[in-house]
Amino acid sequence: MIKQTLFTVVLLITLGVFTWSVFRLRAFFRLTKAAYPIKNISARISRTLNVAFGQTKIFRKPVVGFMHALVFWGFLVITFGSVEMVFDGLIGEDRSFAFMGTFYDVIMASGDVFAFIIIVFIVFFLIRRKFMNIKRLKGEEITAKTNRDAELSLYFIGFLMLSLLVFNLGYLSNHSNHILGVYPVSAQIIEWTSYDFGTLQESGWWVHILLIFVFANYLPYSKHFHVFLSVPNVFLANLDPLTKYPNLDSVTKEVKLMLDPEAAYDDNEEVTRFGVKDIEDVTWRNYMDSLACTQCGRCTDVCPANITGKRLSPRKIFVDLRHRMNEKGALILKGEEDTKSLIRDYISEEEIWACTSCNACAQECPIEISHPNLIMDMRRYLVMEEASAPAGLNAMFANIENNGAPWQYSPEDRMKWAE
């Protein structure tokens, strides 16, 4: 009864803190703008099955992709076990989902095997991060703090798996005659060591469940928030072709007025800024992308500007957006303001103009972040609000305006190619 009470209190605290984090994020989301409507649910489900659960884009880097996929799939089955452990804690029993029979055996067996595999991989990931020279894990936006965050997340996961194995070992030692579920790796360890892990069952259980609770509440403030957000991010992704850059409706109204001055003008229309200058100009989707990004750097790795030594890193755009939201969002909620903005204080014009809109970044992103569209949204602000485009582009604009072509040729000469 003491254990149940204690567990219930801890669970309530966990849920309370998590709810607080969710409300804070919701308040930030409310500062953002509308994006596209979420339609075509069947296409979304199939994309989610494919890209998220099937890990198809992760596999574009086959070796480390395969390792990630196993960790991801392992997490799915182990999460089932975690839900069971919460029930166990509340009702004061062991293995309360065992009534599910064979399904339960399969899930528990794969969870036990995956826990072992994940430990091995996490050790590799830690070594890789600390000692191997992986170019895409470096960059201006990857600070010491980011690296600490990444390593801490790996330690969390590693110890989660270790404590799960310890719990399984303890359970097997204590229930040698009546075992619910199947635990191949743990059983093998007991056979090899002939050690009685019985006394460790309880502590394994507590460490595991407390780590889950702490980790879950750490995640909303970590780059590893992708554990929660990557699947929804894929589900809610923009389904349009990568190179379809959305229409700006506020401009459409103005252009229609210009072409037809008789058109009715709605005075009540709120005057908004063209393009993105700061966090209140981005869409909910941009902000969600920034929260879901785990900074794997696959985008920056394939960016032609970055490859050729330019300052642009697509990953940095979203890291900056998240940081700026933390800064300005918190101020706005307090009713304050500052004089900084996402453009210039975080993202330089140099970065914004270096993009070739080739969409290699968006193609590569395992969770369907769209980098070029946000970069071009910032160009919209620079061009339409500040008229500060590079000289060559201003010349191109003038040519299109005057001759209907980006180069200085007369429209009368449009058929000369055939002569």
Binding site: P241, T243, F274, I307, M396, I400, P406, W407, M415
Partner: protein, 265 residues
């Protein structure tokens, strides 16, 4: 190719004046109209259309920039002005099907004009030619180039943007037998460096130009030719090959030119 002959190109205004209708509009694009090198591509494709006796016309002096570069450069106002003027002309002629050579025009007309009231069936010229080859309508002179090797560079707006990877390869294969793939190809292809309005501005400070990086991918394959399917890619790769002093060894051709050559046009 005989550059001196004038090609007979039907112009929409004249077709309409005669009260006639055509099946396709060929959207030439600004590069096809004005870029000295890419004019040859437009000529090649028009010759192919004439060879096939396709019912088509061009807008001629009524065509204006789709606004792609303005849009990617952040000038949505200018883009929409261009788009609405073009849509008015296209809808005025009741045009249903548009064939594009330039993938940037293709992408804009196909994906971005519908939001402004321009709804057309867009056909990229590589899909069109591939389809004609499959239907057996184009008698290509296979391997007329003495077993020369060729690679194909994917334009971003064709490949990643609109998932057209196979059609241009099928065409190149139909003539050259094989496409020697670069390491970065199809959805992993490296940009030529000209998209997103980069064509019209100086590059930001860096270690090298994107087109040089991509040209090195081409040269690595030790091919005689590199096929492209985009006017910007053509400019960037041709410049890159010149920069590397390889213009006598590697020739940059458009897919339409390859077909026109194989047809002896």
């Amino acid at each position: 190719m005989n550059k001196d002959t004038k090609i007979d190109i039907p112009v929409m205004a004249e077709v309409a004046a005669k009260g006639e209708q055509v099946e396709y509009l060929y959207w030439v694009g600004c590069a096809g109209a004005f870029d000295m090198r890419y004019q040859k591509v437009a000529r090649s494709f028009a010759k192919i259309l004439n060879h096939l006796s396709v019912s088509y016309a061009v807008l001629g002096t009524e065509e204006s920039c789709t606004g792609d570069a303005a849009k990617r450069a952040g000038n949505e106002m200018l883009f929409q002005m261009q788009a609405m003027q073009n849509i008015e002309i296209l809808n005025g002629y009741g045009i249903k099907k548009i064939i594009c050579t330039c993938p940037h025009c293709y992408n804009t007309l196909k994906n971005e004009y519908p939001d402004l009231g321009g709804h057309y069936e867009l056909i990229n010229y590589t899909e069109f030619i591939d389809d004609q080859i499959k239907k057996g309508k184009l008698e290509l002179d296979k391997n007329p180039f003495d077993n020369q090797s060729i690679t194909y560079h994917d334009p971003c707006y064709l490949g990643r943007g609109n998932k057209i990877y196979d059609a241009p390869r099928n065409i190149v294969k139909a003539v050259y037998g094989e496409v020697k793939e670069m390491k970065r190809c199809k959805s992993s292809a490296l940009c030529c460096g000209a998209g997103g309005a980069q064509m019209f501005k100086d590059a930001e400070k860096g270690d090298k130009e994107v087109n040089i990086e991509r040209t090195e991918d081409v040269l690595e394959q030790k091919v005689d030719k590199v096929a492209t399917a985009c006017p910007f890619c053509m400019t960037m790769l041709t410049d890159g090959i010149k920069f590397k002093n390889k213009e006598t060894e590697v020739e940059n051709l458009d897919v339409a030119e390859i077909v026109a050559q194989a047809l002896g046009l």
